[in-house]
């Protein structure tokens, strides 16, 4: 396991390094002055521009510039936004909190809905309910997230009036932003209306979470179902049956753990899809997260922000994928053995 972990970590580091090279070279590919693209300091601001030239080694060769860029990146000095003149990294942190909160909740909901429904469908194999669940999952899987979001907004917000459609909370609740994750922030705030604020935040949350959870949930459903069907065919299940174990015991002790093995492997991929959907969802629901920030920066040609957004998303996806793989290998030793055998 240690060797495997080290190998994964090396791979992560190398990929991250390649990512920084890519982001660094973007500064040269974007139109305009590379130093402005990187630091957010315009040439018209002569004093600060000179300062940035010196601190970012722009008076030296490209290698020195890169190593300097890496240093700034690691120290969290990501330059300033071209449109707000605020430091990018400080601006990013609460947005990251909001995005992580939304994606975590969506993942949890996807698992809570997807996995049990998949198991259920497998249990009812080829029955009417199996077909219904799988048919629904296929159609839900085929609906693009922007359209689904609009439809649900029309239904739940406009027609039924159950839910608001934008932001994290009614802005009249003056909740101070510290982590960016609204539920956490309400918990940390000293507002006398905490419980009302909490209810309001939930009513803002559930629709985007549902929209986001839809795609991974349907994926999970299918993966779980197929995996369970495969496990049910295995000899050890038959022998367990032959030994007279109860259905419940077979399900919980023998089927479930083995079913979840390929499901866990899919979680990394699901997260990647979730991340691309979250960008759209955040824009539609005016969620103050990384995604809407990134899209806005593209409209505004705000290169320092654009880089920061791209880097954070890419790094987040990489990190989660490696963590999922590590967990997968740790939880299911047979996978590890396969990996070593292949070497």
């Amino acid at each position: 396991m240690i060797r495997y972990t080290l190998r994964r970590m090396m791979l992560l580091l190398i990929t991250l390094w390649l990512l920084t090279v890519f982001i660094f070279s973007l500064n040269y590919f974007f139109p305009g002055d590379p130093l402005t693209n990187m630091s957010g300091v315009r040439a018209s601001d002569a004093l600060n521009y000179q300062l940035a030239t010196a601190t970012r080694a722009f008076d030296q060769g490209i290698l020195a510039q890169y190593s300097n860029f890496l240093g700034h990146l690691l120290r969290g000095e990501w330059g300033q936004s071209l449109s707000t003149q605020q430091p990018v990294f400080q601006e990013l942190l609460p947005l990251l909190g909001a995005t992580v909160e939304l994606s975590l909740l969506a993942m949890i909901v996807a698992m809570v809905i997807g996995a049990p429904l998949g198991l259920y469908a497998a249990g009812q194999r080829r029955g009417a309910l199996d077909r219904l669940v799988m048919g629904l999952s296929l159609s839900a899987y085929s609906i693009p997230v922007f359209w689904l979001a609009q439809l649900l907004i029309l239904l739940f917000a406009v027609k039924l009036g159950w839910t608001p459609i934008s932001g994290q909370i009614n802005p009249l609740f003056d909740i101070e932003v510290s982590s960016g994750a609204i539920l956490l922030d309400i918990g940390l705030s000293d507002s006398p209306y905490r419980s009302a604020a909490f209810a309001d935040a939930i009513s803002h949350l559930w629709l985007p979470v549902l929209v986001l959870a839809m795609m991974p949930a349907t994926m999970l459903m299918r993966v779980t179902r197929n995996s369970m069907l495969e496990v049910m065919q295995q000899n050890y299940i038959r022998s367990a049956r032959a030994r007279g174990l109860s259905d419940r015991r077979i399900l919980w002790r023998h089927v479930m753990p083995n079913t979840m093995q390929p499901v866990v492997r899919q979680l990394g991929l699901m997260f990647s899809i979730l991340m691309s959907n979250i960008i759209i969802t955040e824009v539609i629901f005016n969620w103050p997260g990384l995604g809407s920030w990134l899209v806005k920066s593209i409209y505004e040609r705000d290169y320092p922000v654009m880089q920061a957004g791209l880097f954070t998303f890419a790094a987040l996806i990489l990190l989660v994928n490696v963590l999922v793989e590590l967990y997968h290998a740790w939880r299911y030793p047979q996978v590890r053995k396969e990996l070593y055998a292949e070497r």
């Binding site: 259920y120 009249l172 003056d174 939930i202 009513s203 103050p288 806005k296 409209y299």
Partner: protein, 548 residues
């Protein structure tokens, strides 16, 4: 199995918990949400001309020396209690109100009430290029430069703590009107000095301190602006305790948010679409006559628009009545000149070109463009009071021009980038407009077509003509309204002949409100005002005394 049942139930239970929270908690009852259409450029209206910035700042954060009362069509006291004209109209003396307090905020605690120093500070900031604050945050004061106020006022002198004198270079009939605009706000000199001491003068326009009915609390770009009530306001304090601007650039989203109750008031609603939804009891729409003009400006420095025959040809080529129908849904008046009906100098004589594509073609051939030409038609990305949908308008114009063989390419950028590029004169022609800042007809001409305006970048036609400028100056020197009216007719005539721009429409400015909101004022001249806004408790009679 119970497990399956639980799986089904969990989302349902979640849904149950999530029905909208009771609307009766204190902050919701005592606050108001205005869904504005964009980010303000700064929190100081002196620095810009954008309506979004004015709506967000002027009437909320600041006061002026005097206000304009539309009903009486006269000036009324504000921070100045009285004023007199001296020295043949070249000196104005203002007596200041006593005990007007500046905002107390976490970043500044005032030690004295408003006095003459503050007036001098506020005006010298843009008047005097040597002033320590002149170059802070850009040093560009487009309204004052375009209206010529920076050259009209020679100096501002504090006679004693409650008296200020303005010395003018000549008598000017539009001076008081300009002081009553949303741009001529009063800043705190003490705050300015404090910031200089701290070495952060730039904050004066980001963490504003004024005397207005609301105190600035926070601004999160693309998300919200939060204001709290100024309990020490020198007039009757506002009704609402909290005022939040929820920034919602998308017009459809604004409408939906109004319907779901996330906005109490929205500007520029999609009037037709709202009417289709059956929400009459919940939502009111009000339109105010707005002194504005939508026009199509040619960059007269770029060929082929340096040729008057080409400009005139295009004026004949577009079907403006069709635009009024299609873009404004009939909620606008076909412009008959630059001045809208609301101006006292307006004359009913039509001074625009009719629709005559055949003649347009002739003119083009005469100018040497028998086969037409290609050019860029810039269209604003946002809705303004004068133009709800510039993109659609551009498409209609594109189709009209195709008929005479002229090929237009429609170009647009994000709003702030759009304005920046316009100021740099990168456009061939642009669909844009103007909302008057004050009741004086001059406000439609000098900021739009004078050589000064060209220098500061509000003259979208890039038009500069010495004779024309002289005519404008003559109109402003004249004190008698009847004669001025005649002069402005001559000016209109000039625009008709030279066609630096084509006036298209004068439209209403619409707002939509939730049914329980009252008292939001949208003056014809200037930005929205929330001082009198309040919730009318319609539920109180039905569920008296029930508090959650």
């Amino acid at each position: 199995m119970t497990l399956w049942r639980l799986t089904w139930l969990t989302p349902l239970l979640l849904l149950q918990a999530c029905s909208p929270a009771g609307n009766q908690v204190e902050p919701l009852k005592e606050g108001l949400i205005y869904c504005s259409e964009g980010n303000p450029e700064s929190f100081n209206p002196q620095l810009g001309t954008s309506g979004t910035t004015i709506d967000a700042t002027s009437a909320q954060l600041y006061d002026r020396l005097l206000d304009y009362d539309e009903d009486q069509q006269d000036f009324i006291p504000a921070l100045a209690t009285a004023w007199q004209t001296l020295d043949d109209g070249t000196r104005y003396r203002f007596e200041l109100r006593e005990d007007v307090a500046f905002h107390q905020t976490p970043w500044f605690t005032p030690t004295r009430p408003l006095n003459a120093e503050d007036i001098v500070f506020s005006f010298r900031r843009w008047l005097d290029e040597g002033h320590p604050y002149h170059d802070i945050n850009g040093g560009n004061y487009p309204f004052f430069t375009a209206s010529g106020l920076n050259r009209l006022i020679e100096r501002v002198v504090a006679v004693d703590p409650q008296t200020v004198d303005f010395y003018l270079s000549r008598s000017d009939s539009s001076f008081l009107a300009n002081l009553a605009t949303d741009f001529a706000i009063i800043l705190s000199a003490e705050y300015g000095a404090t910031l200089l001491e701290r070495g952060t003068p730039g904050l004066i326009d980001q963490q504003p301190v004024g005397t207005g009915p609301f105190v600035f609390d926070e601004f999160r770009k693309d998300l919200l602006i939060r204001y709290a009530r100024n309990t020490n306001y020198w007039r009757t304090p506002a009704h609402i305790e909290q005022l939040v601007y929820s920034i919602t650039p998308n017009a459809n989203k604004r409408m939906l948010k109004l319907i779901t109750g996330e906005c109490d008031v929205i500007p520029y609603p999609l009037v037709e679409e709202l009417a289709l939804l059956d929400t009459e009891d919940e939502i009111r729409i009000s339109g105010t006559v707005n002194p504005n003009s939508a026009f199509w400006a040619f960059n007269t420095q770029h060929p082929p628009f340096d040729d008057v025959r080409v400009r005139r040809a295009l004026a004949y080529a577009i079907n403006r009545p069709a635009i009024i129908q299609n873009v404004y849904n009939g909620n606008a008046r076909l412009a008959t000149g630059i001045l809208p009906e609301t101006s006292w100098a307006f004359s009913p004589v039509d001074q625009t070109h009719g629709y005559d594509p055949a003649y347009a073609k002739e003119l083009l051939a005469e100018a040497g463009y028998a086969d037409g030409f290609d050019f860029e038609l810039w269209a604003m990305p946002v809705q303004r009071a004068y133009n709800p949908n510039a993109q659609r308008m551009a498409e209609l114009i594109q189709a009209d021009l195709a008929q005479i063989g002229v090929r237009a390419e429609i170009v647009s950028y994000e709003w702030n980038a759009f304005r920046r590029r316009l100021a740099r004169d990168e456009h061939d022609s642009v669909l844009i407009g103007w909302i008057a800042d004050n009741a004086d007809p001059d406000n439609f001409f000098r900021p739009l077509l004078s050589c000064n305006a060209k220098a500061v970048g509000t003259n979208r036609a890039n038009w500069c003509n010495a004779e024309f400028d002289e005519l404008l100056a003559e109109a402003i020197r004249e004190q008698e309204n009847a004669k001025r009216k005649q002069l402005y007719q001559e000016v209109e005539n000039w625009v008709y002949r030279e066609v630096p721009l084509i006036p298209i429409a004068n439209s209403m400015r619409f707002q939509a409100y939730r049914g329980d909101i009252q008292g939001v004022e949208v003056p014809a001249y200037g930005g929205v005002n929330f001082r009198f806004a309040r919730h009318v408790d319609t539920a109180a009679t039905e569920s008296a005394g029930v508090q959650p």
